[in-house]
């Protein structure tokens, strides 16, 4: 199997869908001729032409609004928000329009659309290039919310998303675009070439939405993570020697609660990770479900390791980022509890 970066995997998924389904269109800011500021669409306009892959004005609400109109007509738009931080102008179109169309028209109109966006910190982007808004999307009934942690999943999940009959928010952890990242920001770059999940079939395949992946089996504590934090969890487990089970959620909505429950029932302990600010983050939802379903199996409160409740600072990025030290400490504490 070829080895791919996450960028290449995402590009490959779009390439395949452009090829397979003439109704697929791709657009966004700098997405066309240039191929996207993160290069995810590089070469696609040249290959498929301007009518399939094109640039847009800098107006995220219009990008999603156009996509809704196209999807309702019968096309399959897959659009890019240049950064997740810039989806806010489009949040009205996403949450009040796209997510509701099927329900409010009783299925007369639907909205099969994918909105891709790079998310998370780790590139010194400051407060407007680092946010993780996944919790906001998971509060919207009618959306599906996906976040891969590696190229293999990214490609398979994106193909599933592009074939899904409902609107899907596809969050791409930008710190993982070129290689796995467990929190070691000393500058040593490890590419996806040296990671097993960097291998992915060249052709069409799918990873189903709504299914988590147990990325490490363990007995003592369950770690719930997604995106970059999966790798941070792995680093913390490696450093601590703790026998943790790491669940890579992959899809946040709908959530694979079965896999989560089975694990927590087994381990009796659970740590939840995310990079987003803590209060009302998606970790809260995970804890609410876990404590309800596994109450009688829990031996300690579920704890969360998250970004602080503050804007993502530029220079102090690593004091903000919930790195492996903080995760390790949480693991040690929960095992003592």
């Amino acid at each position: 199997m070829p080895s791919m970066t996450m960028i290449e995997a995402i590009r490959s998924a779009m390439d395949i869908m452009l090829e397979r389904d003439k109704k697929t269109v791709i657009f966004g800011e700098d997405v066309g001729y240039f191929g996207g500021v993160f290069r995810c669409t590089a070469g696609l306009q040249e290959k498929y032409g301007q009518e399939r892959v094109f640039d847009t004005p800098i107006n995220e609400s219009a990008i999603v609004g156009m996509a809704i109109g196209m999807a309702a007509h019968g096309m399959r738009p897959c659009v890019e928000m240049q950064f997740a931080d810039y989806m806010f102008p489009a949040f009205d179109q996403i949450s009040q329009e796209a997510a509701r169309l099927r329900h409010r028209s009783n299925g007369d109109f639907t909205c099969p659309m994918v909105v891709r966006m790079p998310t998370g910190g780790g590139i010194f982007g400051g407060q407007t290039h680092s946010q993780s808004p996944e919790a906001l999307f998971t509060h919207v009934a009618g959306l599906k919310v996906v976040q891969p942690s590696n190229p293999f999943d990214a490609k398979g999940l994106l193909i599933s998303a592009m074939e899904d009959p409902d609107p899907v928010i596809f969050l791409e952890p930008k710190r993982l675009y070129n290689g796995p990242f467990g929190g070691d920001h000393s500058g040593k770059a490890i590419g996806w070439k040296h990671h097993p999940m960097g291998e992915a079939p060249a052709g069409y395949y799918k990873i189903p939405l709504g299914k988590a992946n147990i990325s490490r089996h363990g007995e003592d504590v369950t770690i719930l993570a997604y995106g970059t934090m999966v790798h941070v969890a792995e680093a913390a487990v490696l450093a601590s020697g703790i026998d943790a089970e790491i669940i890579d959620l992959r899809t946040l909505l709908p959530l694979d609660l079965k896999t989560i429950i089975a694990s927590v029932v087994k381990t009796g302990r659970c740590v939840v990770l995310h990079e987003a600010t803590r209060t009302s983050g998606f970790g809260a939802e995970l804890i609410a479900e876990v404590q309800e379903a596994c109450f009688y199996h829990l031996e300690a409160p579920v704890v969360r390791v998250t970004g602080w409740d503050a804007p993502y600072p530029h220079a102090q990025e690593w004091d903000y980022f919930p790195g492996p030290d903080r995760v390790q400490r949480a693991l040690e504490q929960i095992l003592e509890a």
């Binding site: 004005p57 219009a62 156009m66 309702a72 096309m75 409010r104 009783n106």
Partner: protein
């Protein structure tokens, strides 16, 4: 001493008890504007954006180039049907407004005074075209011969409601009849219309899209997004602005409407040609719609139409306009009433009479009443027929995911 900046606050044509002043309205005479070529440019459309396309004068006489343009395809029968459409629209509004007062529905919104616009525009569309209407564009449904029982069922949220009671009354949806699901959020759907039109072009069908927005809602951000994307990609979309002078209690001045600038002119800065049309003149509506739709379908790019009209009724059944404007405004509205004007015209060309009018009014009222009665047997708001609560959870997704299945259990327990 330096002169200091002072904010300006727009004022309406009247406040309760005051006399009405509509002198600020720019109204050209009938016949002043020729019918332009279909590929009219934004620049050349300036007189159309500032002026007013009219066919009927104040005495119901049709004249000028737009009258001739219409005659080429139109017929007297078409006008009589148009009158019937408008009478039907008015009858529907009246009946459903009363039904709301009787508690048979929770909410209603009338389009009184604006009937010509949707009734006329819809007659110029083809199957496969798609309107993106606001809540006050029900006349498009009447002009598309939408089954009355569906229209009324939706307002009653009963078992005849094609939307299963999910939507507020008046927020219809019908793919088949070219009426996109109304969201209730202002502005959002204007840019969706652009997207639909882009899809039509990309998929090489010959459909067009028509966006609809109120004068008040042109203030919303997505108005700009729609004009801009239409200007950049030039898809087949007609962008309609229904300028009825009011947005609930705020006058059109709060959306930037003024003596000096029209809404149509806002399109020019985007390089989109625009025309301004007497929306209370059914013949002008037909003629302008025909021109704009034909142009758009031919791939000549987007066009904006400002329909000048007046919101005669309250904003909605929850509103009482007497607290913010003079009761005399509707009567003082210089462009009159669309039904009266068309009636007068038809009578003047001996194609109609007062007797036939009275008859026709009675007939449509009867038609509406009969259907209404029948629909009421399927439940009303005061006397609902049980629906399955589980329907709430259906159609959130194509398939019900597990967390909704769990909630369904809870709901049924």
């Amino acid at each position: 001493m330096t002169q200091l900046a002072k904010l300006r606050f727009p004022t309406p044509p009247s406040r309760p008890g005051e006399s009405v002043d509509f002198s600020h309205l720019l109204i050209s005479d009938v016949g002043q504007l020729p019918v332009p070529k279909l590929d009219l440019s934004a620049e050349d459309s300036a007189p159309y954006a500032h002026g007013l396309i009219r066919v009927l004068d104040d005495n119901g006489k049709a004249s000028g180039p737009w009258a001739d343009y219409l005659k080429a395809t139109g017929s007297v029968k078409m006008l009589r049907n148009g009158l019937r459409d408008m009478l039907k629209m008015r009858a529907i509004d009246q009946r459903l407004h009363i039904a709301q007062r009787q508690g048979k529905t929770s909410f209603y919104m009338q389009c009184t005074g604006e009937e010509a616009i949707g009734c006329g525009f819809a007659r110029m569309l083809k199957k496969g075209d798609m309107n993106f209407p606001t809540y006050r564009q029900q006349s498009l449904l009447v002009g598309a011969d939408y089954p009355l029982e569906l229209l009324i069922g939706q307002v009653y949220s009963n078992s005849m409601d094609p939307l299963k009671g999910r939507q507020l009354p008046i927020m219809h949806s019908s793919r088949e009849y070219g009426y996109f699901s109304v969201s209730g959020n202002l502005g959002t759907q204007y840019v969706q219309a652009v997207g639909w039109a882009m899809a039509a072009a990309l998929m090489k069908d010959d459909g067009i899209a028509a966006g609809w927005i109120g004068d008040g809602a042109t203030a919303s951000n997505d108005f700009h997004g729609a004009l801009l994307t239409a200007s950049v990609y030039r898809p087949p979309v007609v962008l309609n602005v229904v300028n009825n002078q009011w947005a609930i209690s705020s006058c059109t001045g709060f959306a930037g409407g003024s003596r000096k600038t029209t809404y149509a002119e806002r399109a020019l800065g985007y390089g989109i040609p625009a025309i301004r049309v007497d929306g209370n003149d059914y013949l002008a509506v037909l003629a302008a719609s025909k021109w704009a739709i034909e142009r758009t379908r031919k791939g000549l790019g987007p066009v904006l139409i400002e329909w000048l009209t007046y919101r005669v009724a309250a904003h909605s059944s929850s509103d009482d306009p007497s607290s913010y404007r003079s009761k005399d405004e509707a009567a003082a509205w210089p462009l009159g009433d669309p039904v009266e004007r068309l009636k007068e015209h038809l009578i003047s060309i001996d194609a109609w009479s007062d007797e036939r009018h009275v008859q026709a009014e009675a007939q449509v009222l009867d038609e509406v009443r009969v259907v209404q009665k029948e629909v009421e047997t399927h439940g009303t708001f005061v006397d609902p027929q049980p629906m399955s609560p589980v329907d709430i959870l259906r159609d959130v997704y194509a398939e019900m995911p597990e967390h909704l299945l769990r909630q369904r259990k809870e709901l049924e327990s």
